[in-house]
């Protein structure tokens, strides 16, 4: 394949990666940083990509690893919250009465693993098997994260349940 053909393919994949990165990080700058981190890692690992393999799935799994190691090593991720969410005073015991009608704000409140499972399945037409492989987890784990994440999101969108607030910037 010519370099230009690969560049065109990559442009499409990068647009997809950027959306997934935004879902994971919650911020545009953070998303772009994650995309660039992913590309740098992909460049370094280019030899491990087999010609004819699934380039998109390969890139997504690199991004997932970059995100996970970033969460562990890097500065704590910052999540852009909208006003209605941050304006709520936080009662003790880290519980908060959420009334989040914004699906992105609700997504940002999910634990990282559930957020990753939910957004990957929502955004990309990967099979469950591919999605589990990308996230480096067994299929059963993916399914339970998906189920728990969807239910938590639903409860938040209802705003009628007490949902533990994800601690941002601290240890999970």
């Amino acid at each position: 394949m010519t370099s230009q053909a690969v560049i065109d393919q990559l442009a499409e994949h990068i647009a997809s990666l950027r959306r997934y990165a935004f879902a994971l990080t919650g911020g545009q700058q953070e998303a772009e940083d994650l995309v660039q981190d992913t590309l740098v890692r992909a460049i370094a690992a280019a030899r491990s990509f087999r010609t004819g393999g699934n380039l998109r799935a390969w890139l997504f799994s690199i991004m997932h690893n970059a995100f996970i190691s970033g969460v562990r090593q890097r500065r704590p991720p910052t999540v852009e919250l909208n006003d209605e969410a941050t304006a709520v005073a936080q009662p003790p015991a880290q519980l908060i009465l959420l009334e989040v009608r914004d699906v992105l704000a609700a997504l940002a409140r999910l634990p990282e693993a559930q957020r990753a499972a939910l957004s990957l399945i929502a955004l990309e037409d990967f099979s469950y098997g591919q999605a589990a492989k990308i996230q480096g987890i067994p299929l059963g784990t993916l399914m339970s994260r998906l189920a728990r994440g969807r239910e938590a999101l639903r409860q938040m969108m209802h705003g009628d349940l007490r949902v533990p607030l994800r601690v941002i910037g601290g240890k999970p």
């Binding site: 394949m1 010519t2 370099s3 230009q4 690969v6 560049i7 990559l10 442009a11 990068i14 647009a15 950027r18 959306r19 935004f22 879902a23 545009q28 700058q29 998303a31 772009e32 995309v35 660039q36 590309l39 740098v40 890692r41 992909a42 460049i43 370094a44 280019a46 030899r47 990509f49 380039l55 190691s69 090593q73 890097r74 500065r75 699906v103 992105l104 997504l107 939910l118 957004s119 399945i121 929502a122 955004l123 099979s127 469950y128 059963g140 399914m143 339970s144 998906l146 189920a147 969807r150 239910e151 999101l153 639903r154 969108m157």
Partner: protein, 259 residues
């Protein structure tokens, strides 16, 4: 008629259109008796659509020049013969220079096999990120304090950004890379003739001595050594003596029997 029990995973798969055809009838029958599940799955599907719609509507950053450049580099790397293998072969074939030992075959062989990953990576990163003068740096030289803080936090060790103006080298900037899963800081310097020299630092524990060791990789020369908890790799198209002098400035010990 009794139906096999429906698992939650099957309900999720139903939402995502990933349920095998054979189970669809069973799930539909289940839903016929569980209006609450119908309501719940309908909401899951609605939230999924909304999530996709909202995420797709996120205005992408205007073509970030770094992203564009990385995309081009990746495309080249994916369509090019294995650069890394070439590097390893070149390292094996190229004359390996260790001051005072250059005639010693066995020692050379031994050394080739123990060139740390970091040094190969540093040479590779020099080609990819350092040598190209059009490529923007992630962290500019204007913010050495910020760079130092950033590298220190990622490497888990205090990292000073060396100023080599006395050696006629101007700091251009730096970036954070990864070598074998470990963070690696890369600093890019340029001399008055526009030649670039890169310095890579890693806190990954490797067996490297405090005396500089030199290795030629293709057209590049790399010198590496350890100082405290950091391993350094200095790469450039630079004569050995000059590289050793710069490394000495950085704290490397000169090879005892260097000419």
């Amino acid at each position: 008629m009794s139906l096999p029990e429906i698992r939650e995973a099957e309900l999720q798969a139903f939402v995502d259109g990933q349920l095998p055809q054979a189970r669809c009838t069973a799930v539909l029958a289940h839903l016929g008796h569980h209006p609450d599940d119908i309501q719940r799955l309908a909401e899951y599907a609605r939230h999924k659509d909304e999530l996709r719609r909202r995420l797709e509507a996120v205005d992408p950053a205007a073509d970030d020049p770094t992203t564009v450049e990385l995309k081009r580099t990746l495309a080249n790397r994916l369509t090019r013969p294995d650069y890394r293998r070439w590097l390893r072969q070149a390292a094996t074939v190229a004359l390996l220079l260790v001051a005072g030992w250059s005639g010693h075959d066995l020692y050379q062989r031994y050394l080739v096999n123990r060139i740390p990953e970091l040094v190969i990576k540093a040479a590779e990163a020099h080609e990819v990120f350092g040598a190209d003068r059009r490529r923007p740096v992630e962290l500019t030289a204007a913010s050495t304090a910020e760079m130092s803080a950033w590298f220190s936090s990622r490497l888990g060790q205090p990292v000073e950004v060396p100023i080599l103006a006395a050696m006629g080298l101007r700091l251009i900037g730096g970036r954070l890379l990864a070598a074998g899963g470990h963070p690696m800081a890369q600093l890019i310097y340029e001399d008055s003739g526009g030649h670039r020299l890169t310095l890579c630092l890693s806190s990954e524990p490797v067996e490297v001595g405090q005396e500089i060791e030199l290795v030629e990789v293709g057209d590049l020369t790399a010198g590496y050594w350890q100082d405290g908890d950091l391993t350094y790799a200095l790469v450039g198209e630079t004569p050995d003596a000059q590289l050793i002098a710069i490394a000495a400035e950085l704290g490397a010990q000169e090879p005892a029997n260097h000419l």
